[in-house]
């Protein structure tokens, strides 16, 4: 097959998938930019802008009339603290499992990873009671406490994969030069694993942004919501729908996350498969 024909085959396969997978985002954008008169008219062709569109009124409504900005801030805060806790717990564990503990380490590593498979939907009922007993209900601390239970297993696994790709000889050289094991860790291994650590930061953060079950169970007051819980519960009320604003609210977190995913995808694959598939 000639190169041009091979390319054509690729487009014919990938193109339809890309259209189906990306269409909802095109549609969110079209909706977010249309005014209510345009949106709720059955006569208008929805694929083009009609009377009064495009407009930024939905975005203005979202930030002026709703608590959306508060939810974004809550999500960012929870995300930042959870990522910090995750790194403190997962970095040393992943390093030790990758280097120091041999075959026994592999088993513990797999065991930690398996806990990632225990879903929130099995744990939210008892945890909801525990959160209530600790007086953390309706407070972001409840999420900060519980979220590392899935980010730590996930991150430990990824970091284990990254650490295995750093040749042990480098640390041995530092050890020979008189550095302690922890000194070698801080001065040789961590600087080399910055890309891996960044990948873990981004994917743990996005796990936090994604989380829904705990967020709707532990938090019920409007101003303590995260984005994932706030948009579907607070902006959809009975029969009153703010579809334009809803679609704007959906797009805003999606776009930066998609760009970050795209940049870090190859590293993610390397870490995710590096732990087991070597």
């Amino acid at each position: 097959m000639s190169r041009a024909r091979e390319n054509l085959v690729s487009y014919l396969i990938v193109g339809p998938f890309a259209i189906v997978l990306a269409f909802p985002f095109y549609w969110m954008l079209m909706t977010a930019l249309r005014g209510d008169n345009d949106l709720y008219s059955v006569e208008n062709v929805p694929f083009k802008f009609n009377d009064g569109s495009p407009t930024t009124s939905n975005f203005r409504f979202l930030f002026e009339q709703t608590q959306y900005d508060k939810w974004l801030a809550n999500t960012a805060l929870v995300g930042a603290v959870v990522v910090a806790i995750t790194l403190v717990l997962a970095l040393p564990a992943a390093y030790a499992l990758a280097r120091l503990s041999g075959r026994w380490g592999q088993s513990v590593g797999v065991g930690i990873f398996l806990t990632y498979l225990v879903p929130p939907t099995l744990l939210f009922l008892p945890l909801n009671r525990v959160v209530a007993e600790l007086n953390l209900h309706d407070r972001l601390w409840s999420l900060i406490l519980v979220y590392p239970s899935f980010t730590v297993p996930f991150s430990t696994w990824l970091l284990m994969g990254f650490f295995k790709t750093i040749p042990p000889d480098l640390e041995d050289a530092a050890l020979v030069d008189g550095a302690s094991r922890l000194g070698a860790l801080a001065r040789v291994v961590f600087p080399l694993s910055v890309p891996g650590i960044l990948t873990v930061v981004i994917f743990s953060f996005s796990l936090v942004v994604n989380e829904f079950v705990y967020a709707i169970t532990f938090i019920s007051s409007t101003d303590a919501r995260t984005v994932s819980a706030g948009v579907p519960t607070e902006l959809i009320r009975g029969d009153v729908f703010y579809w334009g604003a809803l679609m704007a609210a959906t797009l805003i977190p999606a776009i930066p996350l998609a760009l970050l995913y795209n940049v870090f995808l190859n590293r993610f694959i390397a870490g995710f498969t590096g732990g087991a598939f070597r």
């Binding site: 008892p126 007993e133 169970t217």
Partner: protein
């Protein structure tokens, strides 16, 4: 020099194996034990008691919660829905991701932009993209229905897509679950208002968001295949489908199975898509075990029974975990 270095190293490793290693691992393991292990045990304990929302303890009632749950019509429907939801969406994802990964592993012009578009559903928080599907399947303003019932080739020959859909699917040839009654342009399908269509919408929305992740895993598997295998296959005259069947697929099977098992876990235990899209409706027809447990345990305050319902998921999960360990080991060996 080498002898001295390795001597030192062994001494260090000996010390560290005993102390430093466990010391570094302990905080993470303890944290996970407290926040995953303990709640899991608590859930199992609660499922054997009559605890209600206000307390963490209750009278021991044996298997009554499990039996009560089983006797409820809604529970059995939720169980059946969970199985259908998991199997159908994973079948779609497996085939889709396999095809897509094969096409994406090659280089071609404009690949990066297509890859970005394909990654979008994975990067978007699920609860939010599902809100997008609420709008796409809206009873009055659904873009799907608009497209189905309008002439989409203006100026040319009148073409109404719903006629094509009718021509394919409104036939006795199809089994009941697939066959549709002809679409009325005045009364288009209520995607979220009719049990079968609502299940289809849930399955579609979920497959849509898992597909990119499965594709990524498949690409990783394909990329790790040594190029010599390609050459060897070419020398032996294996091309196209033949090569896929005899060379690529057997080599990709373990990683595909791992991706599939992951998909099964994240689908069977997912609550977000159903909760946002239909909340189990219409008339409790699309509940999954997860949403039914949520409604029973949180909204209905029957903590014990809610825990029992969600714990019906545990045995299949354990089975999947064991299978996954098996296959992960096989991947390691190859």
């Amino acid at each position: 020099m080498a002898v001295v270095a390795s001597g030192r190293r062994w001494q260090d490793v000996f010390e560290e194996r005993r102390f430093l290693g466990p010391l570094l691992i302990a905080p993470a393991v303890l944290f996970i034990a407290v926040l995953v292990g303990a709640p899991l045990i608590l859930a199992i304990y609660l499922s054997f008691t009559d605890a209600t929302a206000g307390s963490l303890t209750g009278e021991f009632v044996g298997f009554r919660n499990y039996l009560d749950a089983w006797d409820s019509e809604n529970f059995r429907r939720a169980l059946r829905n969970t199985v259908i939801f998991t199997l159908v969406s994973q079948a779609i994802v497996l085939v889709g991701a396999g095809v897509l990964a094969h096409a994406l592993v090659r280089d071609f012009r404009g690949k990066w932009i297509l890859r970005l578009l394909i990654l979008l559903p994975w990067a978007t928080p699920v609860a939010l993209s599902t809100v997008g599907f609420l709008w796409i399947f809206h009873p009055l303003y659904s873009v799907v229905n608009w497209t189905l019932t309008h002439d989409i080739v203006p100026g040319g020959p009148a073409f109404f897509p719903y006629r094509a859909v009718d021509w394919i699917f409104a036939r006795d040839f199809w089994p009941g679950a697939i066959q549709i009654s002809p679409i009325e342009p005045i009364d288009p399908p209520q995607w979220l208002g009719e049990p079968n269509l609502a299940m289809a919408a849930i399955i579609f929305a979920h497959a849509w968001r898992i597909l990119p992740f499965a594709t990524v895993i498949f690409i990783a598997g394909l990329a790790s295949m040594p190029p010599e295998i390609d050459d060897a296959a070419r020398v032996d005259g294996a091309t196209g489908l033949k090569k896929f069947w005899y060379v690529t697929m057997p080599l990709q099977l373990p990683i595909a199975l791992v991706a599939l098992l992951f998909g099964i876990v994240f689908t069977a235990t997912d609550m977000t898509v159903v909760y946002v899209l239909t909340h189990g409706g219409p008339f409790n027809s699309t509940h999954m075990l997860t949403t039914w447990a949520f409604d029973t345990g949180i909204n209905g305050s029957a903590l014990g029974e809610g825990a029992a319902i969600s714990l019906y998921l545990l045995p299949p999960l354990a089975l999947v975990a064991i299978l996954m360990l098996r296959f992960a080991r096989r991947v390691e060996v190859t």
